[in-house]
Amino acid sequence: MRISITNFTKTFGDTTVIKDMSLEIESGEMLALLGPSGCGKSTTLFSICGIHRMNAGRLRFGDKDVTKRPPQERNVGVVFQNYALYPHMDVHANIAFPLKVRKEPRAEIDRKVLEIAALVHIEELLQRKPSQLSGGQQQRVALARALVRKPDILLLDEPLANLDAKLRLEMRSEIRRIQQQTGITAVLVTHDQVEAMSMCDRIALMNKGDIVQVCKPKEMYDNPASDFVAGFLGNPPIAFLDGIANDGEIRLANSEVALRLPSNVIDLSNGTQLRLGIRPEFFQPENDMKVTGKVSFVETQGREDLFDVTLTNGAVLRSIQSRGGDIKLGDEVTWGISREHILAFGPGGERL
């Protein structure tokens, strides 16, 4: 079911957490709400499911306006960050709870619980108490409880945050599998860009209560709308160089070094403040636009090595390369930037 949020504002007391936000989520789509801690992701999620009342704006599920509806009437399944299982009920009773409060017949409840338990692979855990489950198992139970009454919408608040790295990988594909199998519209809240990029159809990137960009993961990586987006996506992160435009080149701050600008921004007027974003994979020895600097940091990441190169003016570029070289800390290197992959941003951080 399609979710549409228009001009949504949320305040707690005097602090405005979300201001005038609008967002469309397509039916059957899985959308990631990505952003740094405290940017309002959970607040948005809780407003969608009705736990928080919106101070202004409208929320529609399909054609239905649910802005004023209490959570009980919204038919939304939610998986909470700490799972929020009911500790005094066993797994079966936990999953059955949404059906039980609707007073569905017992046989019907049992059938549906078994069906959903099979979907999330926890059939053999039904008699246990939540305290007798591992984190991953609790996560599956929470998912089953959210899905059992066939909700129109599934909301997940950092569902993988409490799992270890291996389990996180496993549950990532598991959640995606279940979402696609059921065809449900889902919103995933996360501050982990890898999670957002690997699990979701689209990403809505939030910053300080605002959505700064909504698009497909790959497009957001290649084509960030601002330096914030560029800086948020990518690991290892993008490096920035500040400078001033001068005859199709950029003169880096506090130095004599000048670099040619990418062709799409070549006709900037002289003196414009500029910020170039260079991803580590585009700062490599074989590229042609050379800069010289000192290796100030080396990190071996298994298959690849990561280098920080400090230029003479103090700016830092990052490079990620296949292993093999014998470059050491303190070596002076002259590597090249791939000119057409440079991302240029204006003084306000906006993409040029």
Partner: protein, 433 residues
């Protein structure tokens, strides 16, 4: 034991002394008193030895031979060395000698007879009646109505009166006015109908007050939980007032409320109901008042404990139940109440204990009335031991009531402790490996 643990014990010793003094001693003293017949009459220190009309009756009941009895009664006035010496001192050697010659060794039952004997002396040396009476008293050897401070003095007197040796222990025992060891309190207590009435009253009192406390405390905790914070705080403060109000003030208010010229009567008289004392007019009203008074005071405690327990429930769990579709009622019934199981058990056990032994609000309001219908066990113990209308305070019997209460309390605590241990087993922390 290692040195360090001795040191620890040494540091603890002040606390141990306090524990002994203020926790253990009352129980031990109660236990000791319960096995005595202490009362106002016996005093709590030692007593003296007195034979009087009632002790004579008791002696006869206890099987004292009639001969001995009449010996005690008739051991009136004996003309012996001691008496003669005293007479010589008071009225001269000559008088004494003459009296000795005529009557030495004689026993007179009545003083009048002694007086006559004195009067019959030649020349009638003691002229004034008053002096003669005093002189006759010098020969008084009766042990009736005499107070002997020590056992030795009493035994000497028995000896002097020529009471047969085999009868003396019985007489000594009954003549003793101090307290003695006895188990009679327990027999008496079990044989009294009023004891069972007290037990029944205590049952009614504890059950209904407890139910009121828990249910009303829960009601307050849950309703204030759903109120906005400021209102909830105001409500909680108001409901806490009875607990911090001095009991006397609180009861004065209730009395004013229920008096025949009080609030209820005044309001109802407007509807043509004749005024009366709404607290004490019937047994039923007395109970309702007692349970309401204690219930309101106790509910505040339940409310505080339950409120904090509810607030300890993670908010996300309540949110989860809401998005799962649970209404307020279902949320309370399925999520909140099950998580309050242990606080409820705690309040139940704690309040059982304190209600079993508490009586101050009953004492101040109905004082067990009307007609003993609200007299609970603890109040009975208090009345018997410390506040008897008759004036004879029966410390021993009162302590017996109290001791039984202590025993019941200890058994109940053991039972509840087991329940709580059971809880620990259930929620043992799970270490994930």
């Amino acid at each position: 034991m290692q040195r360090s643990s001795w040191l620890g014990l040494a540091f603890l010793s002040p606390a141990l002394i306090v524990v002994l003094l203020f926790f253990l001693m009352p129980v031990i003293l109660t236990g000791i008193f319960a096995f005595t017949n202490m009362s106002t009459a016996t005093g709590v220190k030692g007593g003296s030895y007195v034979l009087n009309a009632s002790s004579l009756r008791a002696l006869t009941d206890a099987g004292l031979p009639d001969v001995t009895r009449s010996q005690i009664e008739s051991a009136g006035y004996r003309v012996d060395e001691r008496g003669l010496a005293a007479l010589a001192e008071a009225h001269g050697q000559a008088v004494a000698e003459e009296f000795s010659k005529n009557h030495a060794g004689e026993v007179f039952t009545k003083r009048r007879d002694v007086e006559r004997a004195l009067k019959d002396l030649s020349s009638n040396p003691i002229r004034k009646t008053r002096d003669r009476k005093a002189a006759a008293d010098l020969f008084k050897r009766s042990i009736l109505n005499q107070r002997y401070e020590t056992l030795d003095a009493f035994e000497a007197a028995l000896n002097e009166a020529g009471i047969p040796k085999p009868d003396r222990p019985l007489i000594t025992e009954i003549a003793y006015t101090g307290w003695t060891w006895t188990t009679a309190n327990f027999d008496l207590l079990l044989s009294l109908d009023s004891t069972w009435q007290y037990a029944k009253n205590t049952g009614i009192y504890v059950t209904f007050t407890l139910a009121f406390n828990v249910v009303f405390g829960l009601f307050l905790a849950i309703t204030t939980f759903y109120l906005p914070a400021a209102q909830a705080t105001a409500f909680r403060a108001i409901w806490f007032l009875p607990r911090i109000l001095p009991p006397v003030l609180y009861i004065v208010m209730w009395r004013w409320f229920t008096w025949d010229t009080g609030f209820i009567s005044t309001v109802l008289s407007g509807f043509g109901v004749s005024s009366k004392n709404w607290m004490l007019d019937t047994e039923y009203h007395a109970w309702v008042t007692v349970i309401l008074i204690n219930g309101f005071v106790g509910a505040s405690m339940g409310m505080i404990v339950f409120s904090s327990a509810i607030r300890a429930i993670p908010a996300s769990m309540l949110y989860a139940s809401e998005v799962d579709g649970a209404s307020r009622w279902q949320q309370v019934w399925y999520i909140i109440l099950p998580q309050l199981r242990w606080p409820i058990l705690f309040i139940t056990s704690y309040q059982t204990m304190s209600l079993l032994t508490s009586f101050e609000y009953i004492y101040l309001s109905t004082d067990g009335g009307p007609g003993g219908s609200t007299e609970v066990w603890a109040l009975a113990a208090f009345h018997t031991a410390l506040n008897n209308y008759g004036g004879n305070l029966q410390y021993g019997l009162g302590a017996t009531y109290a001791l039984l209460l202590v025993v019941i309390g200890v058994l109940a605590s053991l039972f509840y402790l087991r329940l709580f241990n059971f809880k620990n087993l259930l929620t043992k922390p799970r270490i994930e490996g």
